[in-house]
């Protein structure tokens, strides 16, 4: 018996990395727009005008791919059961060294909340982005509010992504492999997602 089981299909992995690539493109091309402090990042794109063009293209790619990713998982990430609630009560065991066991399905509540947040942020950043794209076509108050909301959800997204990257890499060794080539080890699955492991491996 193989020591590995599949966690994400090739389609899911490619979609995830399209979302990731467009997210970081948006981050780098948007930094100079966020503040003059980061004006130097414009040079990555050959100046501010080009950075704006790149930001708009990457924005469309991110909006569509991220929204699609959210919609194709919306049922799994919106349902919280009793095991999820005990995970939330103990913060997933992340705040102490004590070994903890939670009977978690394919996604733990932290991952579900991250998906819900990114889904909402995608929608808000995308819609406000349209208003900022063409300010003359919309009422001034709406564009002004959009600049505020766009900035706020940019900041929150970056903060959530930092946590996401930490937990998926050095915070939980063995996790990133699920998104790189799709497979995780059986011990990893048993430890982190025992309910899911039981479903797929039948053990």
């Amino acid at each position: 018996m193989s020591n590995y089981i599949e966690r994400f299909s090739a389609r899911e992995r490619v979609l995830h990395w399209i979302v990731t690539g467009s997210f970081f493109t948006l981050l780098l091309s948007g930094l100079g727009l966020y503040s003059r402090l980061f004006n130097g990042y414009f040079t990555l794109f050959g100046g501010g005008r080009n950075a704006i063009v790149v930001h708009k293209i990457a924005g469309v790619v991110f909006f569509l791919s991220s929204l699609y990713m959210y919609l194709s998982h919306r049922k799994e990430v919106a349902a919280f059961d009793a095991d999820d609630r005990s995970w939330i009560e103990q913060r997933g065991g992340y705040l102490s060294r004590k070994a903890t066991h939670f009977n978690i399905g394919k996604y733990n509540p932290g991952q579900k909340l991250f998906a819900l947040f990114i889904g909402a942020a995608t929608l808000l950043l995308g819609v406000t982005g349209i208003f900022i794209w063409s300010p003359a076509s919309f009422p001034r108050w709406l564009v002004q509010l959009s600049l505020l909301v766009h900035g706020l959800f940019f900041v929150l997204s970056v903060m959530f992504v930092i946590v996401h990257v930490y937990l998926a890499t050095i915070g939980n060794p063995g996790t990133i492999e699920a998104m790189l080539w799709g497979r995780v080890t059986r011990p990893w699955a048993r430890k982190h997602h025992p309910k899911w492991y039981k479903d797929v491996a039948g053990e």
């Binding site: 564009v143 002004q144 048993r190």
Partner: protein
């Protein structure tokens, strides 16, 4: 800046609505004519355009048996605390001259249009070249010691140009009702009005829009703090509590014979 700051005193009581200022501005700044249409008012054009840096706003005040006009020269106010400069992400695209003028450099404008949203007076326009356009207070003339074209052309001295503090003092001495003395750290265009600012379509207390203030002065600094806070929290977690390693389990009931 206070001693060298230049400005306008625009005395609306002297304005006769001749629009010499509009024409002189177009001539000096080599601005194309805009096609306009008769819309039932002497006001023409009805709004600022990328080719129209200043214009006379005609406010019709009708009472029971007569109509009275209020004239207001509408243009960039060259605010002491300029919303456009606050949000502009391209250094040097909008800048302040030593005379206190809010000038622009189209070469450096990156067409983000943030200034359109941040202006308390809705002044900047974008033309066919997708670059910022507004009154530059004839910076080239002022630098050469000449008055701006509009002030030069004004036949009634409604538009007076000079040292801002002197103009304000003169208007105060004449007991004029002045607008823009201290709002936004003083407007570069100070008006002597005949009535309430609202009658002229001016905001009573002009200020940078609240959402723009929250974006640039609250979210921006907190966001930078939030970024480093998140990075720091993750590093702290790693060195204090540490990762969830699978090896933790192998000593317990779970074997790893697969």
């Amino acid at each position: 800046m206070a001693e060298t700051r230049k400005g306008f005193l625009i005395d609306t009581t002297r304005c006769i609505g001749c629009r010499s200022c509009q024409v002189a501005c177009k001539q000096w700044n080599k601005l194309e004519a805009d096609k306009t249409a008769n819309q039932g008012s002497f006001e023409n054009p009805r709004d600022l355009t990328p080719n129209l840096y200043n214009r006379i706003r005609f406010v019709e005040q009708a009472d029971s048996n007569s109509v009275k006009w209020l004239f207001l020269n509408e243009r960039c106010m060259h605010c002491g605390d300029a919303g456009c400069m606050k949000v502009c992400p391209s250094p040097g695209a909008l800048y302040r001259t030593k005379e206190g003028i809010v000038a622009f450099n189209r070469e450096k404008c990156i067409s983000c249009k943030y200034c359109v949203s941040a202006c308390p007076f809705n002044i900047p326009r974008y033309g066919a070249d997708d670059k910022v356009s507004k009154c530059n207070l004839c910076g080239d003339r002022v630098a050469g010691g000449m008055p701006p074209a509009c002030a030069k052309a004004c036949p009634t001295q409604s538009i007076q140009f000079g040292n801002r503090s002197e103009l304000v003092a003169r208007a105060k001495a004449a007991k004029k009702s002045i607008y823009g003395e201290s709002d936004l750290m003083g407007l570069g265009v100070v008006y002597a009005l005949e009535g309430k600012p609202e009658q002229y379509g001016l905001p009573a207390k002009p200020s940078i829009p609240v959402s723009i203030f929250l974006w640039k002065d609250v979210i921006k600094p907190l966001g930078i703090l939030g970024f480093w806070g998140s990075v720091g929290a993750m590093l702290l977690h790693y060195v204090t509590i540490g990762p969830k390693k699978l090896e933790d389990e192998t000593n317990n009931k779970e074997g790893s014979h697969e």
